[in-house]
């Protein structure tokens, strides 16, 4: 596994909601290496730290990757000013992604919370109707990628905190319903930490394997600076502090110490 640090042309840009942007980069060497659940470190001109953004889609034939991110501060705002034809400076692909076997015994459930929705779209595209996506957002105007998940063939359930669209409330009850119906062999989740914790507990209750993508403030992004620490318990042994950027961002839910 290797990564690259280069500048790649932006071939597509769109805005998905008020502060959320989608970019497609032409980067054949990155696309060839990239795995679902990995991320990139984008350079924001004039800022010291790069911004870690998960990869939303990988097209190995076309040699492209798609990135979806939210403008959260000055750095991501700077990146969002880049336009088609310009170059984006990225370090990619980085980290340890999701386990996505060619065939699953049962169904897969994808749980996405807000800006945690993008990194699992390729899982939906792989498992199509053998997959349910439970996606939670704050409100109707914050919903992203719902059509992409539907188009991928996944049964898509939308929840909003304020009930302005879909099911009112969090992803908790639809997730529970899906698991109760049975036949689920894998859960993939990305979103806010309280949501991930709830998903892991639910998965454990039903005895279903679960992988979660964690978020933490990062320095280098490649594993050298040990800034993005997370605590895990592996193979029944004692707790150890690992790096979200290199050992993750995807971890087996059962090993994460929240």
């Amino acid at each position: 596994m290797s990564y690259f640090c280069e500048r790649y042309p932006i071939i597509e840009k769109s805005s998905l909601s008020a502060d959320i942007y989608s970019y497609t980069l032409l980067c054949p060497n990155v696309a060839a290496e990239a795995q679902t659940g990995q991320f990139v470190q984008i350079k924001a001109e004039g800022f010291t730290l790069r911004r870690p953004i998960s990869i939303c889609e990988i097209d190995k034939q076309k040699g492209t990757i798609r990135l979806v991110f939210e403008v959260r501060g000055k750095g991501t705002d700077k990146i969002s000013r880049l336009n088609v034809g310009e170059l984006m400076d990225i370090i990619a692909p980085l980290g340890h992604g999701f386990t996505v076997p060619d065939t699953l015994d049962g169904k897969a459930i994808i749980v996405g919370g807000g800006i945690g929705t993008p990194p699992m779209l390729d899982i939906a595209k792989k498992y199509k109707d053998k997959c349910t996506a439970v996606l939670g957002f704050r409100s109707f105007d914050r919903i992203i990628l719902d059509k992409d998940y539907t188009k991928a063939g996944a049964m898509t359930i939308i929840c909003t905190d304020d009930g302005s669209y879909g099911i009112k409330g969090t992803i908790a009850s639809p997730l529970d319903e899906e698991l109760k119906a049975g036949g689920v062999s894998m859960i993939y989740a990305c979103g806010p930490t309280p949501m991930l914790k709830a998903v892991v507990l639910t998965a454990e209750r039903y005895g279903v394997k679960c992988e979660v993508s964690l978020e933490q403030r990062m320095g280098c992004g490649v594993g050298a600076c040990v800034v993005c620490a997370c605590t895990v318990r592996r193979g029944g042994s004692k707790e150890q502090v690992l790096r979200v950027c290199k050992d993750g961002p995807v971890f087996d839910g059962s090993e994460v110490v929240f």
Binding site: T48, Q216, G219, C220, G223, A224, V226, A229
Partner: protein
Amino acid sequence: MIKPDLSVNICGVEFKNPVIAASGTYGFGEEYDELYPLEKLGGISCKGTTLNPKDGNIPPRIAETPSGILNSVGLQNPGVDKFISYHLPRLKKRDTVVIANIAGASVEDYALTAQKLDDTDVDMIELNISCPNVKQGGATWGVSCAGAYAVTKAVRSATKKPIMVKLTPNVTDITEIAKAVEAEGADAVSLINTLLGMRIDIKTRRPVLHNNVGGLSGPAVFPVAVRMVWQVSNAVNIPVIGIGGISDGADIIEMMLAGASAVQMGTAIFTDPYAPIKAIEQVERYLSDNRIEKISDIVGQVEPW
């Protein structure tokens, strides 16, 4: 014109060029080895290593600042035994200078760690008496002459390896500390470690770092580092290694004019992993353009008003 000579000799250790990856920003080299051969660097100062493994501080451990970062990693490391058995043999296969950076909670910890390294083929030991992010040890030693003196003395008697003492800028007069460690047998000093800083999230009223405070690095600290390197190099007779906010070749030249015999680059690598490699090329071009044959000829050549 002939290719300029970039090599420097620091207390008997030959570096092919004056650029060393700074401790804490480069791990044990393996991550960046995927981008370019480590042989391109003059040396690598490894992640701060302690007698026993350390888990470090609770995250968040980093915050961005204008032209820099604050960090509070808290010396997370696998311990000196793992360093010796696993990381060092891998690094020693590479043609670059390997510097072990050690820290401790007590003088005995430092001495024991240095003693373990004495039997290895590590090229040099950097004493971290300046880490601002651990409650015990770290900068506790580096902020007083007595502390700096005690650690240097203990390590000096524990090892024959060249010792470089990394100094903290969080003191009233850094030259006093530098003179104290020189008197106890330090072969070189490296400076500056990070400046103690703090950021607060105005929405939550919580410090951004879980450790509340952390160390400032990056371009923001560069002028402070240049000033301290200049002061220290005028105060001691041992080589000074310049650290603090160096981003490119011009910064390296500036730091060496101030009195640094070599430099370390760290935070710049987060922005651009190729920064040290580009900087080495820029230094070489500067020397050619200015018809300077040897990089060591510019050390301390600033002409103060």
